[in-house]
Every structure is written in C-alpha cells, then in structure tokens.
Symmetry: C2
Subunit: 308 residues, 2 copies
Amino acid sequence: MKVGLDIGGTKTDVVAVDDLGRITARMRVATGWGPDAVTATVIEAVRALAAQAGLTASAIRSVGIGIPGQVEPGTTRVVHAVNLGVDELDLAEAVGPALGVPVHVENDVKAAAVGAYALHGGSGSMGYLNLGTGIAAGIVSDGVLWRGARGTAGEVGHISVDPAGPLCRCGQRGCIEALGGGGSIAQRWGRDAALPVLDVFDAADAGVALAMELRSGLARAVAAAVRVLVLTADVDVVVLGGGVTALGDRLMGDVAGELAASAETSSFMRSLRLEERVELLPAGSPAAALGAALIGASRDPEEALAHG
Amino acid sequence: MKVGLDIGGTKTDVVAVDDLGRITARMRVATGWGPDAVTATVIEAVRALAAQAGLTASAIRSVGIGIPGQVEPGTTRVVHAVNLGVDELDLAEAVGPALGVPVHVENDVKAAAVGAYALHGGSGSMGYLNLGTGIAAGIVSDGVLWRGARGTAGEVGHISVDPAGPLCRCGQRGCIEALGGGGSIAQRWGRDAALPVLDVFDAADAGVALAMELRSGLARAVAAAVRVLVLTADVDVVVLGGGVTALGDRLMGDVAGELAASAETSSFMRSLRLEERVELLPAGSPAAALGAALIGASRDPEEALAHG
C-alpha cells in the first residue's frame, strides 16, 4: 500500500492507494502552521489513515507528499511554502524517522497533474491547469511528469498576455495569473467575501461592471493558458482543477465562450478544437494526494506512472 | 554514413554525418518548385553529395529530410509546404525507390532543434526558436524531441501576447509571430527591400518611427517566446536560429535589453536569469540538415540522439 498526502493551507488530504492504483481509503485533517506543525500534520495524518483503514505499519511501503511550495529538483527540500509558514524544510528528513518508509516530496500542482493523469485513464498527454490563489500547470506525457531543468516547468501563470493588463505580484503586467488568479481577482474586487471569485461571478450576473470585467479576465486567462499548453507542449487535453473550479459549469461556460470567440476569428485556432480538449477535474477528486502517492511509490519518480 | 537534408524555399542543404555525429561533407543545391521538382531535388542532392564525398551507394545507410511543412505524426507525408509549392506529398515514398535506403521526414524546425541540440553538446534541455518568415520552436530534452499529441508542439508563434497587437495571418491579434515574424515585419514595413528586417533595423538606427516600433516589436516577440519556453517547458537554454538571426548581435542586443527590462520590474523574472540562457545558433550551422540526418538514422526517431 502506498500513501499520498496533499498538504493544503488549511486542510491536508491523505489517501491509501493499492497496487492497482485504486484509492482504498481517504481522510482529511487540519494542517498545522510552520515547519514543526506541518511535520506533525504529516505524521499524524498517516497514522490516522492507517488506523482508520486498519493498516499495519509494515503494510505502508511508501509515502508521497504534495506541498504548495518549491521543491528543489532531485531533493525533498521545500522552500517558500508561504501558505504553510514554511520558509525551508527537508520534509522527508523531518517525517522519515517517525514513518520508517521512503518519503518523496513534490510540488502540489505537479502531484495533482500526475493524479489527474491517472484519474483520466493514464495515457496520452495532459496539461493540468491549477486555478487557485495563483495559476500553474503540470504536464504529463506518456506517464512521465515533465520536470524541466530548473523548477519552472508549468509556471504558465507568469506569462504575460497583455502589456496593458493588471500588475502581477511578480512585478510584470498582464500575467495570466494577474488576470485569472483567485488572489489577484479577490484583491482587485476588494469586497469582503468568503469566496471572492464566486462573489464576483454573482455580481457579474447582476450586471456590476467591475465584476463583469474581472470575470471576463478570468476566462481570458484560462483560455490563454490552454493555448500556451497546447501550442508549446501540444498536450492532448487540458484538465482544470484547483479551488476556483468549484464554480463548475459557470466557469467552463465562460472559458468555452472565450475559446469559441478566438476560433471564430482564426481558422488556425478553429483547427485545434480547443473547446473539446478542456475538461474539469471531477469535483472532490483527491488528485494531488493520489499523484503524491504514485510519485512516492516509485524509486524513480519520473516513472511513477509507468510502474504503477 | 547518414545523410541529412534541409529543404529551404530556394536552397537545399545536404550533409553526410559519420557514426560519431560529425559532419564529414556538406553542399548546397537549388530547390525545385512543386512535388516533382522537390522529389528530384532530394534525389539529386544525395547523389551529388555522394559523388563529392566519394561515398558509394552502400555507404549511405539512411536519409533524413527536414522540410518546411507539416509532417503528419508517425508518417512521412508532408502537407501545406506552401513555400515549396507542395500541398501534399509522401516524400519517403517519392524518393525511397531511387535512394534505396530508409527515409525519414520531419518538420524543418523540429529537425533544426535536434541539430542545434547536438551542436550544443547534446545534453540537458533546449528550446530552439526559429526566427524566419514565421516563428516556431522545437523542444529537446535529454536527447528526445518533444513531438506532442497533434503536431502543434513548439507552435509558440501563435500565442497572443498583446490583444491590441497587430493582426496575425492566423486571424488572432498580437501573436508572437505577428509581432516578430519576418513576414509580418516585411508586410507592415511595406518598403521594397531584399532583406526587409535588416532594412527595418537600419531605418530604426536612423530614427524612423515605424522602423523603431517594428524593431522593438521583434525584440518583444523574441523575449515573449523565450519566457513561454522557459515558463512552460523549463528548458535550460533557448537557441535562436533562422534567417532573421543573420542580424546577429544587433538582434541579440535588442533581445537582451528587453529581457533585462522585465528583470528590472520583476524579481521573479530576474531569478530566471533569462538573458544568460539565450544564445544564437552559430552562423552557417547546418542545424536542420544535421538534425534530419540524426533523426533519419534512428529507426525510432524519438531516440535519434540517444543512439547516435
């Protein structure tokens, strides 16, 4: 049995995955703040899952962890996991002694890409586009996660698509993330709401001009990211996941409309049939935890999927 | 010995490559117009090279052809090679009987990417950005050419980076190719010149406003393509090739300036050190012919470089 975790800013998902890649148990625990509390969260989550699923310690052969931060290539060291209060942490070193099994650590979007790919059937190529506070992607082709040379593979959120667009937190203007990131939308909306992007969609439906502009920017951003993924990596399908996709069909309708508009003006765009190649990750899919489990189970993480 | 050809709109380069991947002979012939003449060009070029290099027919074990058109994935059929007057042609079928060896056909930019990668040392990952009439890229990582799912891998030229930018021949606005493609620049410049982009650079130096705007658009386009390649595929290095790179240091200076400007406003961009990761393909390098030879020599083109 392999275990996978997806450490989120407030909740951590943990799953047990059998040799056929099926999720046999899952649960959710609260995430602690800071390096020590995150370490404790991981250890407690694995123990709690084992207890719930009736797994003995020896039944767990590997643990994989997806975390919202940069993971230095080839290591288990996390840096800049700002939403977790972690500046730098070797997570495998921290949890390894208590868990007693090999631990792998991966950026959460890359882990989700591997999980989404497996959930999608595990063949061909896929761009997984995560729409959360920020925007980033993971690319999987023939079962292999594209890791790149220096850790920026899939960072499509910081490609500028409009020199007159909003200022991005990265310092550039008109980045895909500045247009469509949940954080940027909430900031520009400025209204206090538990779910700011949902609030924007509702206000746009009510005809509020700023909300309509922000909502249309989100669709433009997602469509631009889809085009970047198809015109650079030529992935077969782009799967949308992340918190903002809780908007479901309302978001998909906007994105399809934006893609249809560019297909109308461009025969080249039309030939790509992009609107047929964009899908939503099914709601509630623990893609990142599953992907982390698959990555963690492989001694060579590049071949996590090939060897199940 | 493997032979590679790069069929250009007016000239065809042909090289002989030994088992160590070294170019041992090369020559250039005129390219014919239309399917029959292109077929004859390939056969004549291989025969002429063999005669010049003293190669017997049996010494040639494979022929690879790079061609400016779409090559249907997994086939040797070329479609839409408009600059050659070829609408559709199975080139391997056409030249195979006369040459009597296995023939592979590849899009010329992808072939050039493989050749540029070999010339660069053959390790790590590279984006090869071709700046010609149009703009397109090829991505090679760990010796493997990224082919993608449907033939649009590396088509970064049709990513729009400015909704208020010039109209692209593809129907979109502000595509990288609309800003920086030699064809688009020549059309917007409108002055009759043998080398329109060179003419634009000279006129920009003389302070002509339109020329300055077009020249700056070229630098913006190249910088945008570099960012797309690094932020999507995370290639280690981007090598610029194609006709427009005959401008050499004048072009590189502009591109470096554009990358430096974005590094100044964005610490994220600064951290990528893009200006150190962009290089010019050495002038006169027969990258596409070499790449075609390497691809042609492999029964599995995906592993052309891995197995020499």
